[in-house]
Structures are given as structure tokens and as C-alpha cells.
């Protein structure tokens, strides 16, 4: 019984510290697939003209911050926004990651993007850059905030 006392004391001292130390390892610099997958999956869904699937990669309370437009709140509004994009002929979306970083249960991705919009003679190609803030939901990482803007049009 006497011999158990040091072990018990060690456990009392070390367990909380070990748990905290484990938590600190959640802040890591890394380009993780989990952080760049959602934007790539949204691009694929848009290119498949599937607004419901595209919206599923955003959190339920996601906020879109579109260029030259008001903010869009909530997954159903994100879906409606994507649907409008599809109606306007947005396609060929390609997102090229620049960097990503995990901050505990959050993270971010910085990326370039390009897409085509319109049809026929009205068809245009747009390039720009974006930042997405990601949150770890119970089942997967999703985009919680997304903002983008465009680069100057290419000289003709």
C-alpha cells in the first residue's frame, strides 16, 4: 500500500499536464489535405453543376464574402448563391492552393482560382485569389468563411 503512494502522486501531478501538452500539439504548421480538400471539392461540384453538393462542404452557419456583393449567411443561402452562379454559366473552376495552416479545430487556406463565366461571345475567363477559414465539424472539415476577389483582366 505504501509503495502505491509515489505512483498515485505522479499520476495526480502529470495527468493534467500531459492532457494540456497533447492539446498544444493541435496547433501545427502544415499543408494538410483536410484543409485544401473542401475548396477543391466545391470546385468539382460546381463543375458538375451540383449546387447542393457544393454547399455541403460549407458549415451550416457559413458566411460567404463575395466580391462586389453582400455577404451570404447559412448553407441554404450558399446553395442558392452557387445555383445562381451555375445559371450564369460559371464553370471550369480550378483552385490552386498557396498555403494552408491548422490552428486547433480551425484552419485556413490561401489560394488562387480561375473560372469561366457566361456563354458564347459573352464567355469570360476570370482569375483571382481567396482565403477560406475552415472549421472541424464532427464528421469532417468544412468552410466557415470564404472571401475572394479578382485580379485585373488579362490584356487583350
Amino acid at each position: 500500500m505504501r509503495n502505491a503512494l509515489p505512483v498515485f502522486l505522479l499520476m495526480v501531478v502529470s495527468t493534467p499536464a500531459l492532457l494540456q501538452a497533447q492539446q498544444s500539439s493541435n496547433t501545427e504548421a502544415m499543408d494538410q489535405p483536410v484543409l485544401v480538400e473542401p475548396a477543391a471539392q466545391v470546385s468539382a461540384a460546381i463543375n458538375d453543376k451540383d449546387a447542393v453538393k457544393a454547399a455541403s462542404f460549407y458549415t451550416e452557419d457559413a458566411t460567404l464574402m463575395p466580391s462586389d456583393g453582400p455577404m451570404v449567411h447559412g448553407r441554404s443561402q450558399v446553395e442558392a448563391f452557387v445555383k445562381q452562379w451555375l445559371d450564369e454559366g460559371v464553370t471550369d473552376v480550378v483552385v490552386t492552393p498557396i498555403t494552408s495552416y491548422k490552428i486547433g479545430d480551425r484552419g485556413y487556406e490561401v489560394a488562387n482560382f480561375q473560372l469561366s463565366a457566361g456563354t458564347g461571345a459573352e464567355k469570360s475567363h476570370v482569375k483571382g485569389k481567396l482565403i477560406t477559414i475552415l472549421r472541424r465539424d464532427p464528421d469532417r472539415w468544412r468552410m466557415e468563411y470564404e472571401i475572394w476577389n479578382t485580379n485585373p483582366p488579362a490584356p487583350k
Binding site: 492539446q23 466580391s67 462586389d68 485569389k129 482565403i131
Partner: protein, 158 residues
């Protein structure tokens, strides 16, 4: 040979763990207080048309992602960028954070802004932004990435 005392044993185990726990405590999730927010320092410098002060709210190799322009990096170029804005008469910015998150020495903030454009007829431009922030060795939080856009397209030129 004499066995180490229980106190020495506990100390030997607990000290490294305590140091680790102290680091972990500093890594707990938090938000940017207004006093720590680089946006607060940026806005104060912006409204004095102090390009060097505004640039000092960014990390040395920060990346700027302005609308209708290519992205670029570096504090010197950022200072020149804001100086150009000030020369054009832009001022009176109000930054309103929506949310922020920090853990360890990194985090982000999303928010809205309202600023006054230059020219004879002053107009207000409203928009939103996201900045990625980093805490330097001097303890100051600075912007490492900055992207923003307007809430509406610019009015057609007359």
C-alpha cells in the same frame, strides 16, 4: 547507494510537464482583444495617413491580396501601396470585427470596413475582409495575409 527521495522524483517528473503545460496554456483558443488587434493599430495609422504606421501592422513578409490587382508581398511594398491610397485622398476608415480566433501565435479575423474615397465628391465604400494574423517575438500581433472586397461594384465612370 541511497535512493532518490520522493520529492526529488516528483520534481524531476513534474518540472518538464509544468513547462509543457505552461506552453499549452498559452496555446488555448482565444480571440483578439481590441488592444491586441492589428486592425486597431492599422486603422489609427490609416486615419492619420501614416503609411509607415499602417505597414507596421503587417508582418515583414506579409501578403496583400487587393481587389482588381495582383497579390504582392513585403512590408515596404505594403507601405508604398497605402501611401498611394493616401495620396489619392482615401481616409476615415472604420473597421468592425465580426469574429476572430487565435491559438498559439496564429489566428484570423473576419470583419467589415467603411472608408471614404478621395476626389472632389467624397463617397463611402463598404466591404468585408479576412486577415490571417501572427504574433511576433515582440508580442505584437500583425497581419500576415490581408484580403478584402467591396459590397457593391464601383459606380460606372461618368
Amino acid at each position: 547507494m541511497k535512493r532518490p527521495s520522493l520529492l526529488v522524483l516528483l520534481f524531476a517528473v513534474a518540472l518538464p510537464l509544468a513547462v509543457s503545460a505552461q506552453k499549452a496554456a498559452a496555446d488555448k483558443p482565444g480571440t483578439l482583444a481590441a488592444a491586441d488587434d492589428p486592425g486597431t493599430r492599422f486603422a489609427a495609422a490609416f486615419n492619420k495617413k501614416d503609411a509607415a504606421g499602417a505597414a507596421n501592422a503587417y508582418t515583414e513578409n506579409a501578403v496583400m491580396m487587393p481587389p482588381d490587382a495582383e497579390m504582392f508581398s513585403g512590408r515596404d511594398k505594403i507601405q508604398a501601396f497605402w501611401q498611394q491610397w493616401f495620396n489619392g485622398g482615401v481616409g476615415n476608415i472604420v473597421i468592425t470585427p465580426i469574429t476572430s480566433y487565435t491559438q498559439g501565435d496564429r489566428g484570423y479575423e473576419a470583419g467589415t470596413f467603411d472608408l471614404e474615397t478621395g476626389g472632389e465628391k467624397k463617397t463611402h465604400v463598404k466591404g468585408k475582409f479576412i486577415v490571417i494574423v501572427e504574433r511576433g517575438t515582440d508580442g505584437l500581433w500583425r497581419m500576415a495575409y490581408d484580403i478584402w472586397n467591396a459590397d457593391a461594384p464601383p459606380p460606372p465612370a461618368q
